[in-house]
Symmetry: C2
């Protein structure tokens, strides 16, 4: 029998995160203050983030030490297994070897705790007693609840009301870890009360939830705000995924020809890919593929522009691929990929042709997910299924070409709390949505008034 799983001894867990800002051929352009058009400095971020995380956000040091307190919590589920998908290979009858990094084994079921644990630790170390955050589909709210539970921080999660009602298990997970989760808009903030007065049945949005969490953080003593994707320090914390994978691939004497991850805000992709992109910058020949849904084609069809990170336009302007901060993607089931923008780091790497952007349909993704579940066993998150669709395409291409090839992808999370999408797919109720060009043009009009990046 061929070896299917590669474990890494705990003693081999990476002790440093990799900061790709040290190696990027084109440095990141600064975030801008929307009022002045001037670069935002660390002090501008101090009301919402602790200074130790702001330092990481702007750092250009290549390696940043992982604190022992964080490593100790990582060891609850890390190093995660690297696995060979031999049953899938056999099903596809491909000469390609398919490897995946299994981030679904965390207590929250996804890669998100990698940064949640770190952010909880740094806030605690800075003397913060309480965090506020938002969550859409619920993955991030769960991960930060776990993180805060580990370090004894209070947490309040503003969860988009429609998700709060559709996904009761998510808020029960948060509750079990001791966090408070309220549907947003809530009557707990000024902004929420205003919206509820106008429309008591308002179903909420991620933009509204962010605004409530930020208002909570700036108006409550000892409280900061926390974000689960997009920002540089979040990408940094996730690089432990790729650093472990590199050690594990080395153990089996292989190196990937293609590295694949799905992208919403960019964090699970960055986590796996950045250490490999470093190799690519230094001359290694491999493809790095970022997969998004056709229904939210940020990096495949959006412009690179300065835009707000949130719908309510409260963040600094970030240089990134974007469909405009008012863009509301069709309600596809991969909630974590329905984001109008993209991590500035990932965006710059796409511009520099170090990352190849691709988009896949919802139906193709679920088809891939069902094949994976019925061969490899694991029922993946709908987001992850987009990566698997690309993996299957690459494996079938290898078969056509009669070439062996190593494919590595990130199994970013399981789908046990997101099964209604599978049901809709199996019942033939799902449809694809390709954005017409005029809709994209309409959505990005909002960007016209802002400064332009180089």
């Amino acid at each position: 029998m061929e070896i299917q799983k590669v474990f890494l001894a705990e003693s081999e867990i990476p002790r440093q995160w990799y900061n790709i800002q040290a190696d990027m051929p084109t440095p990141l352009q600064p975030p801008l203050n929307p009022a002045t058009g001037q670069p935002v400095g660390p002090d501008d971020l101090a009301p919402i983030f602790p200074m130790n995380l702001i330092e990481q956000e702007v750092s250009t040091e290549r390696w940043i030490d992982i604190p022992d307190e964080v490593l100790e919590k990582f060891l609850l589920w890390r190093p995660t297994p690297l696995q060979r998908a031999t049953a899938l290979e056999k099903y596809l009858d491909t000469p390609a070897k398919i490897y995946f990094k299994d981030e679904s084994v965390s207590p929250a079921g996804s890669h998100k705790p990698n940064t949640a644990i770190a952010q909880a630790y740094y806030n605690k170390a800075f003397g913060i007693k309480r965090l506020a955050t938002e969550t859409g589909a619920g993955q991030w709210g769960c991960a930060l609840s776990l993180g805060c539970s580990m370090f004894g921080l209070e947490l309040k999660v503003y969860m988009v009301r429609v998700s709060y009602e559709q996904k009761p298990y998510r808020q029960l997970m948060m509750k079990t870890w001791g966090a408070q989760c309220v549907p947003s808009p809530s009557s707990d903030t000024q902004f929420g009360r205003k919206l509820l007065e106008e429309d008591p049945d308002c179903s909420g949005s991620l933009g509204i939830a962010i605004s409530e969490a930020i208002e909570d953080a700036v108006s409550t003593a000892d409280t900061k705000y926390s974000l689960g994707s997009v920002l540089n320090h979040v990408m940094l914390h996730q690089t432990i995924i790729g650093l472990e994978s590199q050690k594990q691939m080395k153990t089996v004497g292989e190196y990937p020809d293609v590295v694949i991850g799905c992208v919403g805000g960019g964090s699970n992709f960055a986590g796996l890919a950045f250490p490999f992109i470093r190799d690519k910058i230094h001359g290694k020949d491999l493809s790095i593929v970022a997969v998004e849904p056709t229904a939210c084609p940020t990096i495949t069809r959006g412009p690179f522009a300065y835009d707000f990170g949130d719908t309510a336009a409260t963040t600094p302007l970030l240089p990134m691929f974007t469909l405009g901060h008012n863009f509301l993607p069709k309600p596809i089931h991969a909630g974590g990929l329905r984001y109008h923008g993209m991590s500035p780091l990932v965006s710059q790497l796409v511009r520099d042709k170090l990352v190849e952007p691709r988009s896949y349909d919802q139906l193709q993704s679920y088809e891939a997910g069902v094949i994976f579940a019925r061969t490899q066993g694991t029922i993946c998150a709908p987001e992850t299924n987009h990566a698997i669709a690309a993996v299957i395409q690459e494996a079938l291409k290898a078969k056509e070409e009669g070439k062996s090839k190593n494919i590595l992808f990130n199994l970013s999370g399981h789908g046990l709390l997101d099964l209604s999408g599978y049901d809709a797919y199996l019942e033939g109720l799902l449809t694809d949505y390709h954005m017409p060009e005029d809709e994209i043009q309409e959505a990005v009009k909002v960007l016209n008034g802002y400064p332009k990046p180089k």
Copy 2:
């Protein structure tokens, strides 16, 4: 940092199951035909099980080879990690070392696939094309759906209607793996139609669902029935848990002083404990603790008697601890522990004082589960929480006595699809239930007419 996880290389996965029937000081008494009172032979079981599994059911060989085809599927998630719960130890401030075997990492989230994969394989090998089974809370239905998916068998699951409606995610898992799941009573069997005619709103029971599945199996071509606990071959398949654990404990140079598992039908407990009971039979000094809920006190308060395995009284009479096959436990949240009987193998080992039976309350169990989730991260199944309650008691006893001690328990499953119990607990809505003696006496009256075991 202390080592928290002990991985086992895939090459070290056990190649044989351990059959405790070869070592038991008192041999198992035979199952009886209720009509004749005579021992049931292999041929009597042939209408519902394939002969290769019947042979395992009655075998007294000590070691039984695991077929390569089964091992190959096990490698999708096995060997599972053995983990040290250092965060829990620290929280309890105990000198005890707490280890757990993590069976929650299977694609179905529990230990159940260990036998589901094996049963699907043996049925396939025997030429069977389709299986029928029942499921209560849904864990077994999910596991067998996975197993049948792996070997290309059709599966129909009769799921107790009240669970079917309360736990929609469970049937969506089954559907994703390609199984058909219907609420029971269903209009697909004669017995189901009869019940629905009498009461169209009948909410079902495990006994009814078993009767429908057996009727389906005996009346449909190329179809057999499959059971997820209680029987000898099921216990056998689960012993891979304990065999792996023994190798892993050896790796860290330790041996358990106490081995703990929760018991419903007995299979996760047997899986971990049987290989250690073998050592105990051969003179090793350790305690083996089986934990059940006070609301369903089969081995702590029930008589040892011949009784039916199912409520509808269709199985052979089995020699076991039982509360009577008509006993309907109060609806506590640990659905997997609400079984009137107990595996005959586990029952006999309790009689021979090789296993110490204990019962714990629901509230104490959830309290233990919440402590575990907030220290170790993992949210466990309500069934597993009963084992954790015993672990915490043992660890605190070690603290009182100022003695170090190795405690090993089976983390039989995660609780991500069973969160409503946590909610009820955290909201203060749960209550305990200690069965009054007269209720037990009333329930076991049904046993009076049957033959008595020795």
